[in-house]
Amino acid sequence: MSLIRKFATVGGATSASRVLGFVREMLIAASLGAGPVADAFYAAFAFPNLFRRIFAEGAFNLAFVPLFAKKLEADGEKSARQFAEEVLAMLVAILLLFTALSLIAMPFLVSTIIAPLFENPAKIDLTIIMTRIMFPYLLCMSLVAMLSGVLNSMRLYFLAAIVPVLLNIILVGVLLLGLWLGAGPRTTGIMLSWGVFISGFAQLALLMVGTKNAGFSLKLKRPKMTPQVKRLLILMGPVVLTGGVLQINIQIGRIIASAQDGAIALLQYADRINQLPLGVVGIAIGVVLLPELSRSLNAGDHAEVSRLQNRSLEFALLMTLPAAVGFVIIPDAIVSLLFERGAFTAETTALTAAALAGYASGLPAYVLIKVFQPAYFAREDMRTPFYYSIVMMVANVGISLALFPTMGHVGIAIATAISAWINFRISTRKTNPVPGDDDCCIKRNNGRIALVWP
């Protein structure tokens, strides 16, 4: 199977999830608009989702997969299974403890990192209730991420890519039920939270069946800090931050946005549109490229490593640059078509469109970062992208704080885009992502990419 075909398989499944995600978002927009319940729901949902993105699209794909793939290739299935079971035991123990502590401390978490600038007490209470209902989703999604890593390493990409569709199917069902019952915004919000809770367990159950059918069912052992688990945790430390840096950036944006009524919902709607090309192309590259790179590196095939990276760069730019141009030039027409009905007014369209243009100006950078990061992670170099991500976060916070007083929520979107470009710029200019490789194509491509952002 060619690299393009593998991207297309994962991208296709992700597309199905994104299309249903759009239907879900359109129904939420029509039911809740950019009102206080929408703000509370998105703030609450963002918290377990933040970890989901970091684990599913970050740490587990970037730290667990290379180690697991290496074990599978070098030591065989038995050794790989033992490693996976050790990791599973530790993961379950850590997550259960973390979930229990978070549920107890939820009022504190809401007032410090989830939505610290909410002022309305009813909105704060609703956020606490919703976050408590949805938080166990994190436990399920972390296990889903691990099982997805196992399946991806066995070159079974489809099930792991299609499983997020369940979340959208259940939430669309809940929203339609709410509309049919004539539920008010608050009841709809609570129903949505329970929908998220149920979907977490449904996704986990499906992947457990999938891994069992693939002949790789895992047993839950007593947690032990073995050298292999320790190595994974050491590797995961910086990857947790680096892999999910875009999500952390967006979360910082949400925290600052909680000072403006409706801003969290507006940024969410804009980000949803922006995530379409990012999800399909960026995640497909990240998920497929890393195992391929790891395999080629282990085989010592440097020509193949260069080829993989060059093709990924071209594919990323080919698909994202026109999308970014479209979002920047006609954001109002796109937002109006997708969301403007029910509680989502023309005024909400104008506010969301401005945020979309801001986010979209960084779209190529978000995807290009996803191409460059696996090159470091595949070599188990976790430090360099980690330092870059720190620079990116500092830039994001600084620019957001500078722009927010005058531009409001749009300033946050622009700050996210500028900081992504900064990350990309330093990733390509300061270090060659293929150390010791004199491949002229990479240098030529860097020159081409520099043209995009003079």
Binding site: G11, G12, A324, L337
Partner: protein, 70 residues
């Protein structure tokens, strides 16, 4: 380089199309708006990929695979 040039051409087309029909759009119904926006996007995408294929950035076969599976 051709990706940048093609995107710029596509952007110009989107901008002119949007400006030309902006007034009618503000009063149009949902269906008319949908036809206009999707039509404009489709035309731009066709032009973009036409330039990309004609200049040899991506082969027709590769693009077919992407579109079929994506």
């Amino acid at each position: 380089m051709m990706i940048v040039v093609s995107s710029a051409i596509m952007g110009a087309l989107l901008w002119f199309g949007h400006e030309a029909l902006a007034d009618q759009l503000s009063t149009a119904g949902f269906l008319s708006r949908m036809v206009f926006v999707l039509g404009l996007i489709a035309a731009s995408v066709i032009i973009y990929f036409a330039i990309i294929i004609l200049t040899g950035v991506v082969s027709k076969a590769e693009l077919k695979t992407m579109l079929k599976r994506g």
